[in-house]
């Protein structure tokens, strides 16, 4: 059904092909008709060669350059990132050390202040204590003096009282020496 149509369209060519093959091979694959081979082979060789030249001289180098550039860009970026990271880590370590230092300093200052305050307090306490002690001593001394004075007055009062009692009882005043000895004896 298709064959007659073909003959109608490209009558001359088809007839030649048929003739070259002989009638018996009419049902074979058209690919085995070698009369059209040379044209295809020569043309394909030409196209292949041109494409090979284009790829080897233009396309492959271009693409390889871009890919190499990308690879170098990426490796540079990675290296930069790595160095930045290292720098950041260094800075972090430095900051940490600084913080440690500051903490130690503040701890030391705090301890010093505490010690100073404690010493001050102690000194003040001691001073006050000394003062208080002095006052107590003074007061004790005053008390002792007062007592002594009082004690001294006691014998005088006793003597006065005794002489007054004796004068009242006897009607005549007792001598001072007698009274004094009597008071002494009672004491």
């Amino acid at each position: 059904m298709a064959a007659p149509e073909k003959t109608d369209e490209h009558g001359g060519t088809y007839a030649t092909t048929e003739a070259a093959h002989g009638g018996g091979e009419a049902g074979g694959l058209p690919q085995f008709d070698t009369s059209v081979w040379a044209g295809q082979i020569v043309y394909l060789l030409f196209l292949f060669f041109v494409l090979y030249l284009l790829i080897s001289k233009v396309f492959a180098p271009r693409l390889r350059r871009v890919m190499d550039e990308r690879a170098s860009t990426i490796s540079t970026a990675v290296a930069t990132a790595r160095s930045v990271q290292a720098e950041a880590a260094e800075q972090a370590a430095a900051a940490k050390a600084e913080v440690e230092q500051a903490r130690a300093d503040s701890r030391r200052v705090a301890a010093e202040a505490k010690a100073r305050v404690a010493a001050d307090a102690e000194a003040r306490r001691q001073a006050e204590e000394a003062e208080v002690n002095a006052k107590i001593e003074a007061a004790e001394a005053r008390i002792a003096a007062t007592r002594d004075a009082a004690m001294a007055n006691v014998s005088t009062i006793a003597a006065d009282t005794a002489s007054a009692i004796v004068e009242r009882l006897t009607g005549k005043p007792a001598s001072a020496a007698e009274v004094a000895s009597a008071v002494k004896g009672a004491a």
Binding site: T13, L29, T34, Q40, L54, F59, M67
Partner: protein, 263 residues
């Protein structure tokens, strides 16, 4: 139903026929611009356009198109690098040319009515370029030492000639298998597509006539599903065969580039 192999016919574009010439091996040859030439030209132009678009404004931070191009580039670069080793970069342009050209022609076949890589002349040429390059590099690099490729030093001495002969025969078969693998895949895929697509039309036509012909409807629907599935599969095959071609070319190149310390 349309003839499923009609799509593989190479015919001149009307008005672009320039007669015939007789060559020694191939016999009578047409000189004409055919649909095969058109398909190859479009594939070539698309590949060049794509690579130009990918590389002309190439940036360190790639856009979408550049990413796609770089993926293909990196894939083949990985293949040549891992198979051939540190000398792989030297052979990368060749393998990448093979890959992009085959991929372009394969994929174009999914959109046009003609697939250049379903032509034995095309796949055979690509295979021959590859194998001639392999032989050329082998002889240029190692001189007559190239023939050590067929001398299996790991085999016992007694059976070395036999193994060597087998190695030699398998080497001779390499271009054949290389050409036939791509050719067969493209041929088979497109025939299957055409047959199932033809079923859709003929069974649909049967159903349109009504009556018992309505039984053709499920067959047409099933065929339609097959066409959809096969189309997806063919896209995969188009890519895979281009990749396989590139990988095999790298393996064959490696054999002669690293002759003696790869075996």
């Amino acid at each position: 139903m349309a003839d499923p192999i009609e799509q593989f016919e190479v015919h001149p574009i009307p008005g672009l026929e320039f007669g015939e010439v007789t060559l020694p091996v191939l016999g009578v040859q047409q000189i004409a611009v055919t649909n095969a030439h058109v398909a190859m030209t479009i594939a070539f132009a698309l590949v060049v356009l794509f690579l130009t678009a990918v590389t002309s404004g190439a940036k360190v931070v790639p856009g979408r198109l550049q990413s796609a191009g770089e993926t293909l580039f990196g894939m083949i670069d990985g293949v040549t690098d891992s198979i051939i080793g540190h000398e792989g970069r030297k052979y990368f342009p060749f393998v990448f040319t093979l890959f992009t050209l085959v991929l372009g022609m394969n994929l174009l076949g999914m959109f046009l009515t003609f697939t250049a890589t379903s032509q034995l002349a095309v796949t055979g040429t690509l295979a021959l370029i590859t194998i001639l390059l392999v032989i050329g590099i082998g002889i240029a690099k190692h001189g007559l030492g190239f023939f050590l490729l067929f001398w299996p030093t790991s085999a016992p001495l007694a059976i070395r000639p036999v193994v060597g002969l087998i190695e030699f025969l398998s080497f001779l078969l390499r271009p054949v298998t290389l050409a036939l693998r791509l050719f067969g895949n493209m041929l088979g895929g497109h025939i299957a597509l055409k047959i199932f697509a033809g079923f859709v039309v003929s069974m649909g036509g049967l159903a349109a006539a009504g009556g018992l012909g309505l039984l053709g409807l499920p067959v047409a629907a099933l065929s339609m599903g097959m066409v959809v599935g096969l189309t997806a599969l063919e896209f995969l095959v188009a890519f895979l065969q281009a990749f396989v071609f590139a990988v095999l070319a790298s393996i064959y190149l490696n054999d002669v580039v690293n002759l003696g310390h790869g075996h």
